[in-house]
Symmetry: C2
DNA sequence: GCCCCGTGAACTGTTGACACTTCTGCCACG
DNA sequence: CGTGGCAGAAGTGTCAACAGTTCACGGGGC
């Protein structure tokens, strides 16, 4: 029996249009794993937890379904969608090609203030202050960095990229192995910030693509080592060109990582 | 005063879960321009038109909003979102890089049956049978061709590509200038089919990218000639490489278009 | 012992009604 | 003549209740 998850959510205060709050709360619980894949969630129970009627909950469910976080068959309880290597690969492939493009057009437009912010965040990512290492906090900063990277790519692209990044978070958390240390590649962020400052759009985009695909390949190897990531490799080729991501390339070394 | 569009939609038969039907009907009306940009649509009126209560309509509205087809401020009537060159450029940029990738991985996987279908559709696109030329019918086939091209790229990618293609349809119709003739580039489809048959993934992807970006540039030039499509050009560069789309490239000629 | 069907609980989809907000048009007032 | 504000209409967000569906469970028949 799938755990028909229960537990009281804080009631929605008193505001009008409660759907966004419900949606975001559930979304967060799914992304962080509080609501595990396969768990069944009923409109009635969620409504009760929020102290609200089923109307707004139904609307929130529709949004979560359109985002791909839950499956909702007619006349059945909704279920938190499961994880799969295929989806993980798709998500990262989308991120690789789209974020590379978004970064390419953003680089010439960064303000001095934004560049300084990137530098600062990158430094924090490399040398997190607190001991012991707090993965939650680090990942928060990490998401902020990647989000700022795409600042000037337009609202539509930004929204999509945010969604994809959020969804990959699900996999990162599920397979973080207890989050016991700095993820490999954490140091690359300072190189990226540097390339942005140098207005090297091509170099920055390439480094981002390698950065993302390394994360993806690491995860895939952990989850299902036999899986052959055809789509992801094609995505990498599209961004980096046919030569492939074999050795550290020119712009990477130049950035002095 | 914005036209608070009215008019009776056929009542939803008697099925359970009416939301999808309502959503699709409204979506189609927006995409084809029956519901013009800026038009205001009220839950109450739509509900009456469908012979249904406001509940399902609200859910449909939420989906349409998440898709970006309507704007829905709290306590206000929803409005059909307007058109803009920026969005058009974004849509086509997304299509260029994502469909190119999707096609790249699809090419090795086409069955003989699918290849034959592509050939056939491409031929119809080049020499449409009926006189006078029926744009609606032609565009139907056109969408079918592009959809089949991505058949093997996985459900998530397919869904996204379909959505983007559908949205560009809005612009194509709005600026079709009466749809009085075969769009330029219509002949390229047979070359694409040919490249698929030859299992030339790279060539097919490049041709698709050029095909899409030409359509985009034509539309942009019609709508707002002063607009400089920075994002789109970056997208083209990402797929074709730095040399740019200057001359007809090797694989294009080899396909003997 | 095994299978089938009826029954009731748990849910979902839908509806009509209620409270509150926004906007329009009009009137009194300056 | 211009302006401020005040009712009423129109619309939205929400809720509680109704009807139909799915599923688990147990009793009866074989």
């Amino acid at each position: 029996m799938a755990t028909t998850t229960s537990g009281s959510r804080g009631g929605v205060p008193r505001g009008r249009d409660n759907t966004p709050a419900i949606r975001e709360q559930l979304r967060a619980e799914i992304l962080t794993g509080t609501l595990v894949p396969g768990a069944e969630i009923s409109q009635a129970r969620i409504a009760a937890d929020f102290g609200v009627s089923r109307g707004p909950v139904r609307e929130a469910f529709r949004l979560l379904e359109s985002e791909g976080l839950i499956d909702a068959r007619v006349n059945h309880r909704a279920r938190v969608r499961g994880l799969s290597v295929h989806e993980l690969e798709h998500l990262y492939s989308l991120r690789v090609i789209n974020e590379s493009l978004a970064l390419t057009v953003s680089v010439p437009l960064f303000s001095e203030h934004e560049l300084a912010e990137l530098d600062e965040l990158a430094e924090v990512l490399r040398h997190p202050g607190d001991e012991p290492f707090d993965f939650e906090e680090w990942d928060q900063v990490h998401q902020g960095f990647h989000e700022r990277l795409l600042a000037h790519s337009g609202p539509r692209m930004l929204e999509l990229a945010d969604e994809w990044a959020a969804h990959t978070q699900r996999y990162r958390r599920a397979y973080a192995e207890g989050g016991r240390g700095l993820p490999p590649g954490a140091a690359e962020h300072v190189a990226m910030a540097r390339l942005c400052r140098d207005r090297d759009a091509r170099g920055a985009a390439h480094l981002l693509a390698r950065h993302l695909s390394r994360a993806a390949l690491t995860l895939i190897a952990q989850i299902e080592p036999t899986h052959e990531p055809v789509l992801l490799r094609a995505a990498i080729r599209q961004v980096l060109g046919p030569e492939g991501p074999s050795r550290p390339s020119e712009e990477h070394r130049r950035a002095g990582a």
